[in-house]
């Protein structure tokens, strides 16, 4: 049975290069290798039925090595092999002019713009609502249950209607997608911020009280700083949700451009490699955004002295 280390033990010094490797890339790479290994195995098993059926239809039995290579090179695999997805991504990102309609960078940008706008609207709304809820009993009692209900509305079902209604009002393009992504991203921010703004303990609040600090001052100088860790945690969830929102908005939006349209059209034509490439592009985008927020978080928390 291992034992929880005393704090001092955790600080044992190690050579810089070694620690750098241990803490940074190395674990990620190892886990990545493991996942890729499992993925290849999965690709082999999931694709082999089809390969064998094909061979049977052609009347040529397959040797094991033939089978392996047959499962890794299909045009429409059930599960594309990692190198196929990598090739698809590479071609989509570097193989095209970035203004080309086949460029994932182009589609990524089309998706990113409404995501950022929607994320901004959504987190702002979430923060404002949370502030309202923490300060007003009426808001707390009336808004929260309906905010929850709003998230259970299947947005994918509403998205087409939102787009139709908005476009009938002459609003098209960026805004409808941004609104859907704002709809999905405000909720995590709301929940996290309500929790965070209520995190200060009794003594911290009492101190403020004894100074007769106004609501605004308690907010800026106590509630907001205590909510910061919660805020950033939820912003990370929210930005990913915002991206999902945009993609959902792109599905019915005339399926014209953007990663969502790319996903869907890959889906129509059973082009699994295209689906997975778009999927990875979207996830990379989201991971990048999450990373960015993480950096901002670290800077902010360090400035606030909260990161120890």
């Amino acid at each position: 049975m291992t034992e929880i280390p005393a704090p001092a033990l955790r600080m044992r010094r190690r050579p810089a290069l070694y620690t750098g490797l241990m803490q940074g890339l190395f674990p990620v790479l190892v886990v990545l290798m493991a996942i890729i290994g499992v993925w290849y195995l999965g690709a082999f098993f999931l694709n082999s039925t089809w390969a064998q059926d094909q061979a049977a239809r052609a009347g040529q039995p397959l040797g094991f090595m033939d089978l392996v290579s047959a499962t890794m090179t299909q045009d429409r695999p059930v599960l594309p092999a990692p190198h196929q997805v990598a090739a698809g991504l590479w071609d989509g990102i570097f193989g095209q002019k970035i203004t080309s309609k086949r460029s994932l960078v182009w589609h990524g940008w089309i998706t990113l713009a409404p995501t950022l706008l929607g994320f901004a609207i959504g987190s702002l709304a979430g923060i404002l609502l949370a502030v309202g809820i923490v300060h007003s009993r009426v808001m707390d009692m009336s808004v929260m249950p309906w905010a929850i209900a709003s998230q259970t509305v299947p947005i994918v079902a509403l998205a087409p209607m939102v787009i139709v209604v908005l476009s009938s009002m002459g609003i098209t393009g960026l805004i409808p997608k941004a609104l859907i992504s704002a709809w999905l991203s405000f909720f995590p921010v709301l929940v996290g911020m309500v929790k965070g703004l209520r995190a200060p303990d009794r003594m911290q609040l009492d101190l403020m009280h004894s100074w007769n600090a106004g609501e605004a001052q308690v907010f800026w100088r106590l509630r907001l700083p205590s909510a910061m860790p919660y805020l950033f945690a939820s912003l990370k969830v929210a930005v990913a949700a915002a991206l999902v929102g945009t993609i959902v908005g792109e599905l019915p939006g005339g399926a014209s451009a953007g990663l969502g349209a790319r996903l869907l059209s890959g889906s129509y034509y059973g082009q699994t490699i295209q689906i997975w490439s778009a999927l990875f592009m979207a996830a990379t985008l989201a991971a990048g955004l999450v990373l960015l927020i993480g950096v901002i978080e670290r800077i902010t928390l360090r400035r606030m002295g909260l990161a120890r």
């Binding site: 087409p160 139709v164 399926a255 451009a257 349209a261 129509y268 059973g270």
Partner: protein, 308 residues
């Protein structure tokens, strides 16, 4: 130029080649029209867009249009570029299905919903097969966007269009000899597809009427051009596809198949075809698609003027 918006039933593909040709070749321009073409998608209900004012004209299948009319949305067919139906059920030979009348019992069939299920339901009503599953009926799956259920053998048969999904099944590597197909045309349950519909009230406005006349004229010119030059039509479609997901091979083949469906039509709806569609739909057994004979669901007011 007079602005006009056309809502497509599905994504940008050669199925709508005539309109893209008319736009690209300047046929609309010649008529003094500035036409915006909105692609559709799986969750877009074109009639809803029409009702919401998002478009002036929409491409829709007649069963869905008649059903909407019965729901109280007065839409009218003004032209019918498609003469025959491209719908069929494609089954794997190994499922042992040879005759729809006897062999569907107990099988799982893939069907498109979202308003595309009406022709199938009428057919099953004709065959007297319940669609709730069980040994004496058929089990219905809501088929997704692609032909996977057949390839994965999750369904014995799936819905396909001659010009689209059937080609995909072949592309996936299944030989035509391994397949059995049942065209709705051959089963006597064909319904009219891809007509042009507008809101009834628009027809009363002479300015609008004039625009529509010019639109239908130019569109039919586009269709006839596409019929004769499927390769060029496919290229035009490719240029207009913003997702960058289509392949030229697939679109060329689609353009060729579409040419067969538009072949017999000059754009005017033939009353006999309409009658046959309505009869098929009314004969829906206990739960017919439409309950009573529709009135005023079509007009020659536009096509007569356009085609004189």
């Amino acid at each position: 130029d007079d602005a006009l918006t056309l809502q497509l039933k599905w994504v940008t593909q050669a199925q709508f080649g005539g309109y893209y040709v008319a736009k690209d070749k300047g046929f609309y321009k010649e008529e003094g029209l500035d036409v915006t073409i909105l692609p559709g998608g799986p969750d877009i209900a074109p009639v809803q867009v029409l009702a919401g004012g998002g478009a002036d004209v929409t491409v829709e299948w007649m069963p869905a249009a008649l059903a909407a009319r019965e729901k109280g949305l007065p839409i009218v067919n003004i032209a019918q570029p498609f003469k025959s139906s491209g719908m069929m059920l494609t089954c794997l030979k190994e499922s042992g299905i040879t005759d729809p009348k006897t062999d569907f019992k107990g099988k799982t069939l893939g069907v498109w919903f979202s308003g595309n299920e009406f022709p199938f339901l009428s057919w099953m009503a004709h065959l007297g097969l319940p669609t709730e599953g069980g040994p004496d009926g058929v089990t219905v799956l809501k088929q997704g966007f692609n032909v996977d259920p057949l390839l994965q053998k999750q369904a014995a048969c799936i819905s396909t269009m001659t010009y689209n999904e059937y080609g995909q099944v072949l592309d996936a590597g299944i030989k035509p000899e391994d397949l059995v197909t049942f065209k709705y045309e051959d089963q006597g349950v064909a319904t009219l597809e891809d007509g042009l519909y507008v809101l009834e009230e628009k027809l009363g406005d002479p300015a609008m009427e004039d625009k529509l006349v010019r639109f239908v004229r130019a569109s039919m010119k586009g269709w006839k051009y596409a019929e004769e030059h499927p390769e060029e039509a496919a290229e035009i479609v490719m240029e207009n596809d913003e997702t960058g997901a289509q392949t030229i091979e697939h679109q060329t083949r689609m353009a060729q198949e579409i040419a067969k469906l538009t072949a017999g039509s000059n754009g005017a709806l033939e009353e006999a075809d309409y009658k046959r569609t309505v009869e098929t739909l009314l004969a829906g057994g206990s739960d017919p698609v439409i309950a009573k004979e529709p009135e005023g669901a079509w007009t020659h007011q536009i096509s007569d003027k356009a085609l004189q």
